[in-house]
Structures are given as C-alpha cells and as structure tokens.
Symmetry: C2
Subunit: 410 residues, 2 copies
C-alpha cells in the first residue's frame, strides 16, 4: 500500500463538495485548528447578527425587542435548524440551558415514567458531568435509585427489567467509540427501559436519526461541531409519545401553558415547550442562531463521508509516521469525527503541538485528541498535523520544562 501524499490530500480537497463552506468561517491564520469538537470556529455571519442585537435590539428597541426582533421565538427558530441534523421531528427539540441541566430534566422525566424501577444504567465512557447529574439526583432522592456503570461494550448486555433509564453518550469524548443507537434502543425498549442519549460529540459530526431509531430522549451541545459559540445554549429532544405524559422536576414560567397570565399554579405547556424553564441568554442565542445558518441544506451522509476521509488520512499518517496507538475502534461506522492517540507524555506532546500552531487537546490520562470538523477542516490540514506530530515526536520537542509542567486546566 502506498500511503496518501500531501498532493493526494490537495486533490481530495479540490474535489471536496463542502470546500466552499470553509469561507463561511473565520479561520485563524497560520493555525491548524483541530479542536472544533471542543469549540467550533466562528461562522462569519455571527458578527453582523450580534452587532445588530447590541446596536439595534438591546440598545434602541429594548424591551420591545421580545416581539419586534423575535426574541420570544428565537430558541424555537434555532431548534428548527438543529432538528433536521439529528433526525428529530418538528416541535421535538428545545434549545435552552446547558447540557447537564437538560440531562437533569430528562432524567427526572424518564424516572417519573418508570416509577417502579431504580436502576440508571450508564458506562465508563460517558462524559463525567452526565454521571454527576445522575449521582447528584440519586444522592438527593436517597430512595434506592442507583447509577450502575459498566464498560461501554457491555451496556446492551446489562439491560434488564430493573433498568429505568439507559443514559449514554453516543460518541465517546475520548476514544471516539460510537454506540449502536438502533440496537441499544431496541434492546432497552424490549425490556421496558427508556434511553437518554448525549449527542454532544455527534451533532454536526455524524448523521443521527432520532425518530428513525425510535429514541426517547436526547441532549446535545451546540458549541462543538455546530459552531454556536463558547457555552452556547444546549439542546434537548423528547419523542412526541412522551410529551404529554410527563413533566420534568425542574420547571419554570417559560414552560407554562400561559407564561404571561402570571398564574400561581403551574400548568405544563403542551409539547416540547414544557422543557423550557427561565429566560435564555439572548446574545449567546442570537450568535447561535446566526451560526446555524451554515447548516442549511447540509446532507449529513455526505458530510460523514468527508469526516471519514479526513480521519482516514490522519490515522494512516500518524500510525505510519509515529507508531502511536489509536484509541477506540478502527471501523469508521463505529467512530465519531475525532481521533485520539495514546502517548505516555500526551500532555507535553499536545503543548508542543499547540506551540507549533496545531491545536488539539489532551484528555487524561494519556490521550492526545484531534477533532475533524468536516464543514471546514481539510485533508491537507490532516496531513500537515500528522507531519508536525511526527517531527515533535522524532525530535522529542515535547521534552521541555515549559511543556511538561501542567499549568493550564484545559
């Protein structure tokens, strides 16, 4: 096998059906940015939209902007842009709060639907905050609810009649391992269990078909592959069959059937709206709304193809040039759009890469992680990043006090 050359990569980029999209983003000069799975690049459309929100909406039109500039409808508008990317139906997605807060809402709703079951099943590859949400709730309830944590590969086998909820992240934030969504839901439903998906490393990276897979609940992130801006509001999904059946433990006036009637008794809004709680951060929501414009008409199947192609080049080059051990499975259909390699000095290696303007990140204990955002990353970037990594390893450029000493929290 003759491996891919830089010229081959340039040819792949020339044929890239998404190559025009890169111009929609502010791309920092002289940088290979492979951390779009943590914070996506800024879509250029954001600047004008946020400036308008400051100069015209907040400054000039003030409180009247809730109607005049559509602040009331804003979160719903964003939801309508996210839904097609995750196979969600109309009026099944809410954009609000943070991933963890939304997970808490969904978990309480799901437990209410399975009052006689005490087990929440998860795996060790779930994002820690998701585990904390369940642990915090269980600790508060103190009534026998337990979080059972198994290895990702054994989740399906562990599903039984005592499981109320299976709570997993589709794509592992470290290894990129991907759960079999359809199979897991089918198994769970056969045993009367519900499933909550965390799509933080899926949305905008791989095709997701929530309705097709008969999913119950999902949460997800908008600031990674969706490029909504730092800490942009999260999303949640509830299948219509659960809409009227239950409300979360955490409710507020935005989830009331008539918020501006100011009644003293809560009456859950019909549909997905009951998962809204308080007033959302409009400036961040406006940025997210503008950012989501780049997704209009994107075919997620085609985008997945590009993701595989980028990851293939990078994995192949790193394995050939550096001999590092790949985290997660090798088959692309069982992976997300980021690639991690193990290295005993991973932290220092990543610091050296960042100093060389190749931006990835480090995940404890020993993983260097590289996100490939198929909307804007190129094959040449994947190639060059692997070359830089090879040079840093060959010359032990990471073996310097300033890289070895852990000073930052990221």
């Amino acid at each position: 096998v003759i491996s891919t050359t830089r010229k081959d990569c340039a040819a792949l980029d020339a044929d890239d059906p998404f190559k025009g999209r890169r111009d929609d983003f502010a791309v920092p000069e002289g940088t290979i940015y492979l951390d779009g799975n943590s914070l996506g690049l800024m879509p250029k459309a954001v600047t004008a939209r946020v400036t308008h929100a400051l100069d015209v909406e907040w400054s000039r039109d003030l409180i009247t902007s809730w109607n005049k500039h559509g602040w009331f409808a804003l979160a719903n508008r964003v939801a309508g842009k996210i839904a097609p990317l995750i196979g969600a139906g109309d009026e099944t997605v809410a954009v609000t709060d943070t991933i963890s807060v939304n997970l808490f809402k969904l978990l309480t709703a799901a437990l209410k639907l399975r009052p006689d079951r005490k087990v929440i099943l998860t795996d060790t590859g779930n994002f820690p905050s998701d585990l904390y949400v369940a642990q915090g709730l269980n600790s508060f309830l103190d009534d026998g609810h337990t979080l059972v944590m198994v290895e990702p590969e054994t989740v399906q086998d562990r599903i039984a009649e005592n499981v109320a909820v299976v709570m997993v992240t589709e794509v592992d934030y470290r290894s990129s391992r991907r759960h079999d969504m359809r199979g897991l839901i089918k198994k769970a439903h056969a045993h009367g269990a519900l499933v909550i998906w965390d799509l933080s490393h899926s949305a905008g990276a791989i095709p997701v078909d929530l309705m097709g897979a008969d999913a119950d609940f999902a949460v997800g992130c908008t600031y990674k592959y969706l490029n909504g801006g730092p800490g942009a509001p999260a999303f949640l999904f509830v299948h219509p069959r659960h809409h009227g059946a239950v409300a979360p433990a955490l409710v507020g006036w935005w989830g009331d059937a008539q918020p501006f009637a100011f009644r003293t008794t809560f009456e859950a809004a019909p549909g997905i709206a009951r998962y809204q709680v308080g007033t959302q951060p409009i400036l961040s929501m406006v940025a997210l709304d503008a950012a989501m414009e780049v997704w209009a008409g994107i075919d997620m199947r085609a985008l997945e193809k590009k993701s595989h192609s980028l990851c293939r080049v990078f994995i192949e080059r790193v394995e050939e040039r550096c001999g590092l051990k790949l985290a997660g499975p090798r088959e692309f259909e069982s992976r997300g759009s980021h690639v991690s390699f193990h290295h005993p000095h991973g932290y220092a290696v990543m610091q050296a890469l960042i100093a060389s303007r190749v931006i990835g990140d480090f995940r404890a204990p020993d993983m260097i992680r590289f996100g490939f955002a198929p909307l804007y990353n190129t094959h040449v970037e994947a190639f060059d990043a692997a070359e830089m990594l090879a040079e840093i390893l060959d010359k032990r450029l990471w073996d310097r006090p300033e890289f070895l000493q852990r000073k930052s929290v990221t």
Copy 2:
C-alpha cells in the same frame, strides 16, 4: 402643599450625584424608558467588550481563550462585582444559569438541610416562576412536600416548626411591596426554618445586606437594574455556614472539585463553586461583565435616596393629575424602585403610552408599571411621563382599537 414643578425636577437632576452615570448608557433618543426593571439600558462599554470576544477571543484564539482571556474565571469575576451590591461576602455568590434553575438548586439544598419538614412557605406576591419551581419539585417528589401560599402580609405569622423553607421575593414584581428581610429571617430562624430570597427586583435598585441580615440563600436577576443584557446569567448566594453542609440535587462538572480530572464520581467543590453546573454562555457573560463596570464604587444607600426621590415625584404627579390608585404601600422603606397604578383599562393605557414613547409595561389584571432605574433615570423623565399619562387619560387616547386589542405577549 405646592407640588413639584418641571423646573424643580430639572434642579433635582442638576444636583443628582449620579447624573454622570447616564452617559455610561446608550439612551434611546426621544424615549422615556421606564422599563429598566424588566430590561436595563445597555451600558456603552458592552459593545467593545463583546466585539473583542467575537473578533479576538472566539475567532482567533478559540479554545485557548479559556485561559488566555479568562473565560474560566469570568463568572467569578462578575460575582465579585455583584456581591458588594447585595451585602454578600467574598466567595458567597455564583453567577450562572437562570433565576429559576438557581432557585431549584437552592430549594433542593435547603430541603436536604431540613429533611423532617415538609412545608415550603411562600406568598401570592412571589413571582409565578418561583412558585412553579417548588410545585414542579413537589410534584416530582410526591412525598408530602407542599407549597403553602399565604398573603404577603401574613408570611411571618405563618412560620412554624413544620416549615422547612420560606421562599419569597423581596420586592413584589407588581405592587413594589417590600418584605422586611431582617424580621422575616429572624422569625424563620427562631423556628428552625431557612429562607430563600429572590432579589430580582432588589439588586441594583435598593440596598440589600444579605450577610448583615444573616440570610441563608438568595437568587437574583442581572438583566433588570444591573443592566447585564437580555437573559444575562443569573446569580445565587449561599451563606458560608451552608457551603460544606449540603450540595444541590442538580450538579455537574463545573461544580466538581476537579472538573478536568474527568473522574467518574462527583465530589462537590468546596464553597460556592458546587452551585455551578455546566458551561456558561460566554458571549452573554462577557456582556454582563462589561455592564457591571458601571457599578464600581456605587453607594447603594445614596442610590436608594435617588430612587425614592424619582418615585416620589412620579407618584405625586400621577395622583394629582390622574387620580389613579397606587399599588403597594406608600412608605418608601416598604417599597422597591418601581411604581404601579391600577387602571381598569391598564393594557390599553400602556399601549398608548408606549406609542407616545413612554415605555413601561402592563401586568395582569390591571396594573400599569413603571421602573425607575436610579443610575440613569431623571426627575424630568418622571415628571414628563406623568404628564403624558395624564394627557392620555384626559383625552381617552387609549380608547382605540389598536390599543385595546391584546396582540403582544409582553
């Protein structure tokens, strides 16, 4: 008694110790804005700060901005600016999420501290969303916890040994009636009950002394008198004596002792940090941080004096010229910084006022509401607003189909 003239008002404004602050805000031309109790004016410093966050922080420095531009420390920085305005100590305030989400956290923490008590006591003047938070939690728990709602004037009398938590809004969002914070806390503590304050209509409007009053818990809003921007993140306060004793039911990685260790078991951070849950909306937080700069060195006692002076002029003029009935008590020490009057056609009257560029709002069933933000509103504005109201009532200018028909949700 000879009433205050417009000339008197101009003289009061000339002597106003805060008159220089008005220039710190973007003031819409030709408008008397008396809705700063709903959405405060934009401080001019916000534009440059948000532009920097887009052009330099997000676009260029991307993920490194968490350290390089202090995103990690941002919420704490804002907390440090809010704390002195509400008499909170160092490290007792967190800025995060929404008011309702924060209230939920505090309510679950408080109930955990009083496991043998089932009553949450509140009043009919509490903001509906606060009531909904308790109702939603009780409905989920389904274990005998009840929300007992009494008239605001009888809350203190109702406090007894079965009350776990008293949950009230200090200043009524409609009538402006203000609770006696010290008296209520003293009575509650004498009966072993805890108190959660909602300071949404207090912070930045009146002096609050949480530590001096021995308060347990509080939540509050940053987009009203604090001018943090539409839907800006909310704040919460926990007295240090409760910090280590309890964690809320809703926790996440930002409240963990070591978020970036990515451990599978939650360990609550010491201090107030455990009330942080997920990643916050940075663009909105940055705007809030810039907005809070106008509060540096503000003496809340002096600001309260101006608030009383503005409200006095307005109340006096409206009563004299329009004969409307004032909502809430007459004594200024028992009021906040907004003024409401009853009118059977309040909705239409407010629409007519807004059409005449006097911006207040309407609160069901019959109140027209005017917020006086003492940092930027003037006595002449109070005078002119009352004159406009008088003209609208005298000439029945509100009696038009376009004003009578309720089309908007605000």
